[in-house]
């Protein structure tokens, strides 16, 4: 029989530890033969023969020890180095005879009464009393428990210990971080039992038995908190904090399981971000830091700290807003480049409106007003005014501060609109834009304005890169495709100067520019937008010269992709969840 197989109910050394008594559990199976031989033990006050004692204690195996035994006897911190080891290697030299005597007596006795031996000093222990008894369960007749009571041998040591405990308490209470002291041993005991019954995959086990998480949460108790913790949680009395740790995890239920898994795995530390609800009802973002004790340390104390992240997260949110403002500014700068095109686009319908209105007035002021003409002209005024409105709306979309909205889009349509938008700009620069748009592309989910911004930025870069290209060779090829991974891809190729190889991995960085007056944020924004759409953007050079930029974003499957009938310039500001 292996030691682990002994039923230990009701007799665990650990339970004897309640009053800080060190407790050992031994297995005598292998010493049976030795003990039954005639002169196994010395009679009366005869001395032990050293090698006999050695043999005996080498054959006695340690089944288990409690935390106090580890502490008191200075046993290896790692329990594996204690369990199932020969007693000879770990029991203190000075009291080996007493233990050998005790075990022999117990083994020989038919009663299960406890047997006691007293030893004046063992190392730093004084008035050592060993009490041994046989397991009550007769199925494990070879199991013997030995408890050890002792006092520390010098008053100095006691004072020192108390002083160090006090120092420790002071240290914790004056730490400028909220600290909870927790006794996680009850959970530890459950884990040991599970481990003993062969469970190694706690994650799987807790999936099957979710109640274990609640149980662990219930029995693990806070026994002290410092001032900072009370301030963080807005509590008034320390007593509010004492008890089950449940209140710490109520807002982030998943955390309990993760903490438990960490504890089970024997991890030294566990760190995670947590939302907690304070006693006065605030919701805080905190960083949770837990340090589980390892054997050799005070096993009764698990330290839990919280660092308030609320301020940091607020700062992050502010930063994100600045980022958004920044990309707004970037849009404006792209827009600035195109003011000429924009002015042209708006003045066109405006001219038509003015002319038609003036003509109408002339017809109206005639001696016999020609109302038929006025009718025709006025409806043309309405038409042109609508067109002007469309254009202005489109520009507001580009320039306006807006939050991203996600809709189903016909991607080819998005590309076409960009080309229309840049028509004057490209004609001005003698650039020919050729498009090859794969028909029947599935819809993509995204923000029209942002995707247009990406494409407009890329086209603008290409136009700028072709400044020195001979006028007749300034060409841009736009292509859309459904790629092998069923993503919608877009590529733009130009016949410009291309990208020097050593710039290739820098061009997407913010503020990287080779242009006089460039800010270097165009591509950085493109990248962030494409990433927000779940895609990737890459740059390369074409073998025949010029740069190639490509990106691809996930497409919707045919079933999902019911295209909504988009307005011509993407003014639909649906209240669909934001994508960034």
């Amino acid at each position: 029989m292996e030691p682990d197989e002994y039923p230990t109910k009701g007799e665990q050394p650990r339970e004897a530890a309640a009053g800080q008594v060190a407790c050992w559990q031994f297995n005598l199976t292998r010493v049976r033969a030795l003990l039954e031989s005639v002169d196994a033990a010395p009679r009366g006050d005869q001395e032990w023969q050293p090698d006999r004692l050695d043999m005996l204690l080498s054959a006695v195996r340690i089944v288990d020890v409690n935390d106090e035994a580890i502490r008191l006897f200075g046993l290896p911190a790692d329990r594996d180095k204690v369990l199932d080891r020969p007693t000879a290697s770990l029991w203190p030299e000075q009291s080996r005879a007493a233990l050998g005597d005790l075990l022999t007596t117990i083994a020989a006795s038919v009663h299960k009464e406890p047997v006691t031996r007293e030893i004046p000093t063992v190392g730093r222990l004084q008035h050592v009393v060993l009490t041994g008894w046989k397991a009550f369960d007769s199925r494990c007749a070879d199991t013997v428990f030995v408890s050890v009571r002792a006092t520390l041998n010098t008053p100095n040591a006691v004072i020192e210990l108390e002083a160090s405990q006090k120092r420790y308490r002071n240290l914790i209470s004056s730490l400028p971080i909220p600290v909870w002291q927790i006794d996680a041993r009850p959970a530890g005991r459950i884990f040991e039992r599970l481990r003993a019954s062969g469970i190694t995959d706690m994650a799987a086990y807790s999936d099957e038995h979710p109640e274990i998480v609640n149980l662990a949460c219930e029995i693990v108790q806070v026994f002290d908190v410092n001032q900072e913790a009370m301030v963080l949680f807005g509590g008034k009395r320390r007593s509010e904090f004492i008890g089950s740790v449940k209140y710490l995890f109520s807002t982030t239920p998943g955390a309990t399981r993760r903490v438990m898994l960490a504890h089970f795995s024997g991890a030294r530390n566990h760190v995670e971000e947590l939302k907690v609800k304070t006693f006065d009802g605030r919701l805080l973002d905190v960083l949770l830091l837990m340090t589980f004790p390892v054997p050799g340390e005070r096993l009764d104390t698990t330290i839990l700290m919280m660092i308030d992240n609320t301020a940091r997260l607020e700062a992050e949110a502010k930063l994100r807003k600045i980022e958004a403002d920044f990309s707004h500014a970037a849009r404006l700068s792209t827009l600035g480049e195109m003011t000429t095109s924009i002015a042209h686009e708006i003045k066109q319908p405006l001219s038509a409106i003015l002319m038609n209105a003036q003509t109408s007035l002339r017809y109206l002021r005639r001696a016999e007003p020609n109302l038929d003409k006025v009718d025709i002209l006025t409806s043309r005024v309405v038409e042109s005014a609508q067109r002007a409105g469309d254009i202005i709306g489109r520009i507001q979309d580009m320039a306006g501060k807006r939050e991203a909205t996600s809709t189903l889009l016909d991607f080819n349509d998005v590309v076409r609109q960009c080309v229309v938008f840049l028509r004057h700009e490209s004609e001005d620069k003698d650039v020919v834009i050729t498009t090859k748009l794969q028909p029947d592309l599935p819809a993509v989910q995204g923000d029209r304005i942002q995707l247009q911004q990406v494409i407009v930025n890329l086209i603008a870069n290409s136009i700028q890169a072709m400044k020195v290209t001979p006028q007749m060779q300034r060409e841009i090829y736009l292509e859309t495709q459904l790629d092998e991974t069923a993503r919608v891809s877009f590529s733009i190729r130009d016949t410009g100067i291309g990208i020097p190889v050593d710039h290739l991995d820098q061009i997407f960085d913010g503020f990287f520019t080779t242009k006089e007056g460039g800010l270097g944020i165009g591509l950085a924004i493109c990248q962030s937008i494409i990433q927000a759409h779940g895609g990737e953007i890459t740059a390369s050079n074409h073998p025949e010269g010029g740069a190639v930029f490509s990106f691809s974003i996930p497409a919707k499957s045919a079933a999902e992709g019911q295209l909504q009938n988009g307005q011509p310039f993407g003014l639909q500001e649906d209240l669909v969840p934001r994508i960034i």
Binding site: T340, A343, H344, K347, Q348, P349, L350, S351, A352, I353, L354, M355, N356, Q358, T359, R362, Y363, K373, I376, L377, R380, E383, S384, R387, H424, E427
Partner: protein
């Protein structure tokens, strides 16, 4: 004096025909209506190439053209016409404040360079002066 007035009357009786070239159809239509109410005949073209194909010397008495167009700018059109129909008076319109194009156009003999949107009275005045210029022998 007398001669000029006589020509003017003559021209008005003959109803001058004005060509309009603009790639924006709504502008073409609006101009056509305006010219009609001003008692001119008018023909519109949405592409400069179409106008060139249709124009034989003397068919039009005045040309009103946009500056920025697909295919060919107003300035290029002006250049082409300086060979084909050197006497045709040209009035430019532009939606952009293109100072350089304006001075070039006027240097090459344009009657006027108007910014869109265009005032009807201003346009009328310039058309009249263009027609006068056409009928006047060119100054050396």
């Amino acid at each position: 004096m007398t001669k000029v007035r006589c020509v003017k009357v003559c021209e008005l009786i003959l109803t001058p025909t004005i060509a309009v070239v603009d790639d924006d159809v709504s502008i073409c239509k609006a101009l056509a209506e305006l010219l009609e109410v001003l008692d001119f005949k008018c023909q519109t073209f949405d592409r400069p190439e179409k106008f060139l194909a249709a124009s034989i010397s003397g068919r039009f008495d005045c040309l009103i053209t946009d500056l920025n167009m697909k295919g060919m700018t107003g300035l290029e059109l002006q250049q082409k016409l300086s060979a084909a129909d050197p006497d045709l008076p040209i009035i430019f319109m532009s939606a952009q404040s293109a100072a350089e194009a304006k001075s070039q156009a006027l240097r090459l003999g344009a009657v006027a360079f108007l910014s869109k949107p265009i005032n009807d009275d201003v346009l009328h005045r310039h058309i009249i002066s263009a027609l006068n210029r056409r009928s006047r022998p060119r100054e050396p």
